[in-house]
Amino acid sequence: MIRLENVEKTYQSPEHGAFQALAPISLEIEEGDIFGIIGYSGAGKSTLLRIINLLEQPTNGKVIVAGRDLTILSPKALRAARHSIGMIFQQFCLFSNRTVAENVEFALEISGIEKKDRQKRVKELLELVGLQDKSSSYPSKLSGGQKQRVAIARALANRPRILLCDEPTSALDPQTTQSVLSLLQEINRTLQVTIVVVTHEMDVVKQICNKVAVLENGRLVEELSLTHAKGAPASNLGRLLFQPKNEWLLAREVASV
């Protein structure tokens, strides 16, 4: 579904010279995966995620999504390709001057769907995320969890095959996190949407991902399957994933001292 080939990102700045945010990385994400990308802050996880829909242009390498290399597309073709890659963010990023329904409708407007069909689809989507009754509210009146649900509905509007999630639950409390995670799982199961999640929260990965990539300082240090574990993980973060919760909590505390 998604294949990254030797994807590399180097930032050039006049003051600091070249900074390599990502060393060449190759990665394959299969259809139906809930694929986690974990790492400490500054490891390059968000950069890697943003390369998948080319919000971040890689310095080198190929980004092949559904069989097409996005890096060689024209701006117009890239916009069309982006209609079928949904994305949600830590800060939700809703349009504050549009109602819940209008936020979802935006995605349909820009992909050229007729008004009549748009309204029907918006209704379906708000039902899917359980916010039918909030349809004419503005985002400022919603809780964090509700905002993220609107963002999910908006991201799914054009029936994407892929959903990219950048720290989707990091601004939410534990209970809301649970409900958003189960919604993501349900979407993965019932709509066959491939999900890529960047997070620093181990719990999130443990709970919903079937595969994980561990990044350290811009390098891919290992790839793990959480459903068919083979052998011991090589990286510290990888080992933490397989420890019972209280132990890794302890380990995290030790690490942060």
Partner: protein, 220 residues
Amino acid sequence: MFENLLALVPEFGMAIWQTFTMVGISAAAALLFGTPLGVLLFLTGKGQILERKHLHQTINYVVNTVRSLPFIILLVAIIPLTRVINGTTIGPIAASVPLSIAAIPFFSRLVEQALREIPKGVIEAAVAMGASPLGLIWKVLLNEARASIVSALTVTSISLLSYSAMAGTVGGGGIGDLAIRFGYYRFQTEVMIATVVLLILLVQIIQFTGNHFARLLDKR
């Protein structure tokens, strides 16, 4: 003392109409030309979707240059241009030329600032959904910044009201011109006071209306 004022009622009517013409035309020009200029200034800036360093610097330079001229100097300096556009330099419509030229860069700078208030992530979300530059401008940028843009138009209109008094004295007419001709040259203090009260009222009305609409439009 009121006979002076009563005798000037038709003059006041005329002056108010002239002031409205000058402020109306130049505020409309600011909205019509200053908005796209402000959007361009924002979108060609660093890290934005149409980043163009040289174009950005050029617009920036032009905007700063026009804004650095005191209005009274601009007014006199572009008299030849005003004559080319209008065939005359007399009257409120002719006076709208220098007023518009002052208003457009002023307003475009305020629009740029309004757009900068939009969280970066919101613009990014629209780009990630595949919004075209035009879709992004209409449906995201201008819509998200609409309350700030209304406030910017309010500020611009009030500045224009003040500038229109200067434009009035060199042939534009209007309330300021009335104050100078009767209140100052003829020592009719009551006319001066009446125009001052009128201007205060006008500013209050513009500000109140602007605030009202900005509040209605702001759902943040």
